[in-house]
Amino acid sequence: MDSPPYSIEAKHLTKMYGRTPAVRDLSFQVRPGEVVGFLGPNGAGKSTTLRILTGLLAATSGEAWINGISVAREPSAIKRQIGYMAENNPLPEDFRVSEYLRFRARLKGVPRRELRSHLDSILETCDLHRKARRKVIGALSKGFRQRVGIADALIGNPQITIMDEPTIGLDPHQVILIRDLIQNLRGRTTVLLSSHILSEVEVCCDRVLILNQGRLVASGTPAELRETFVPGATYRLEVIGQRTVLESLLQKYAADWRHRFDQTDDPKDLRLRISTDERDQEDPTQALTNAIHANPELTLRAWHKIDPNLEDIFLIATRRSWELSEEALRDKNSGNQPEVIS
């Protein structure tokens, strides 16, 4: 049998809680081996979507497939292909780490003969193989508990690992450890993880899906999203000299660019940002640098390009979707047909 083209495929998923929609007409695909981040503000429908994909929740309409198998029609078949780490990482407090993982492994049908070696390798992947394996889960720190949750998701070598907020509530050191752990999974399984920590998603993920109010508002690699949502460019400039002189140069060589000076203690220490929203704006770097060099009153200290991070993209994408839905609401109230919202 040919392997299916997508590890995860969702088509027009909708989930209503009573009359409140949690997920609206959501469609996306994840290819085998990809690490995909699911972003969205709280209440955007991330957890609901992940729960639908794992078969815990039935969608109101639409369908989802895991490795080409329908989630709704064969829930037990897909459970063998998925490792799931639930939101808030629920774990029994009274068990020891190794006891709990052995229990989970047997439930997931790991053969008795392979049990020990399989668990050993997973404990090592998650850096639980030293003292932590013998500890009672209730006594573990949050970072270790999170690792136990990830270890649990990896038991039985699932083809797809779904993690709901794996780094929530961790300190920066622990976030880095978990991030490394996720990097370790690359190539072993397809990973779909939800988060609202953007830097983490930017580092870990090949592709990002941004969800807002139950709708997919953006999808693509961080570079593609940057291109779509934050066109143009931003530079940061540090110059020593007279502000008026620099302003006249800016006027001459970068007239179409916005500029904003930072507050500094020394009036001669000039720090500023110049930016444009236009995609094809001519780059003033070369001309401006030459002009500053040529001017004896100015000394160029630093000049670098600032790439918009995922946070900017996220804010713009979610704001845009809010504006769109408000527009739709206004249209509806005035009796017009709302435009198609994507």
Binding site: T54, P90, D94, R106, L107, D152
Partner: protein, 254 residues
């Protein structure tokens, strides 16, 4: 099948290491001990037709009302509250297997408590040292019949407890709910039967139905050594039905 064994082992282990199990067991045995003492006083006070095991086991509903909620209220409600029920449901395990393992674990402990209560007649016999009394303490017919009843009715009561626990994420609500349902099953139906017997014009429920559901009546039959298949079917089918409904609930709102 293999997963059910794993689940049951896990369940027994959980009950084994959780303090609430021991508190429930100690409380139950304390109450049973007092009830047994009361039985002994009743024997001393005046001539009794009934045998000591029958008198003692006829108070079965007092420990049942306490032990069953305490043993079962935690099971599914706590797992739901913690979210571990959800992570259990993401493994290839059916809801029916989860519910059955919960029931089996609690039922095992329930039977264990009643087996420990067998120590009471032994202690009484040891202290009193009267061979004539000893044979009455261990009257086989009433003891075996009574315990058979305890085992059968216990299956249904524990199932009711598991059912109550499957409905909510609060242990307290689950406990109160199972107490209420079991109270209605034992005392409520007996009370209805009494009312119907006393008033000629009030017959909402057919009297045969109420007779069939009379748990106290079943006990009397069993303790006389009469094993009627009708109550046996009532308890077994009732257990299966309630566990089935609980499994559906777990599946629909994990």
């Amino acid at each position: 099948m293999k997963t059910i064994v794993t689940l049951i082992r896990n369940e027994l282990k959980t009950l084994w290491i959780s303090p609430s199990t021991y508190i429930a067991a100690v409380l139950a045995l304390l109450i049973m001990g007092f009830l047994y003492l009361a039985t002994l006083f009743a024997l001393v006070g005046d001539e009794q037709e009934a045998l000591p095991p029958t008198i003692f086991l006829s108070t079965f509903w007092v420990p049942v009302l306490l032990v069953v909620p305490m043993l079962t209220m935690r099971s599914l409600a706590e797992e739901r509250r913690l979210g571990t029920l959800e992570s259990l449901m993401t493994t290839p395990v059916s809801a029916a297997a989860i519910v059955f393992s919960k029931w089996f674990g609690a039922y095992t402990f329930y039977i264990l408590v009643w087996l420990i209560a067998l120590g009471f007649p032994w202690i009484a016999a040891e202290i009193l040292q009267q061979p004539e009394m000893t044979s009455r303490f261990f009257d086989q017919g009433s003891l075996i019949g009574g315990y058979l009843f305890i085992a059968l009715s216990g299956a249904l009561f524990i199932a009711v407890g598991i059912f109550a626990s499957s409905l909510t994420r609060s242990q307290l609500v689950a406990g109160m709910l199972s107490f209420s349902i079991i109270f209605l099953m034992i005392i409520g139906i007996a009370a209805l039967r009494l009312i119907e017997a006393q008033s000629a014009e009030w017959d909402t429920f057919p009297i045969q139905w109420l007779d069939y559901l009379q748990i106290m009546e079943h006990f009397e039959d069993f303790s006389k050594g009469v094993v009627d298949t009708r109550p046996v079917i009532y308890y077994l089918s009732g257990t299966a039905l309630i566990l089935g409904v609980s499994a559906l609930i777990v599946e629909s709102k994990a």
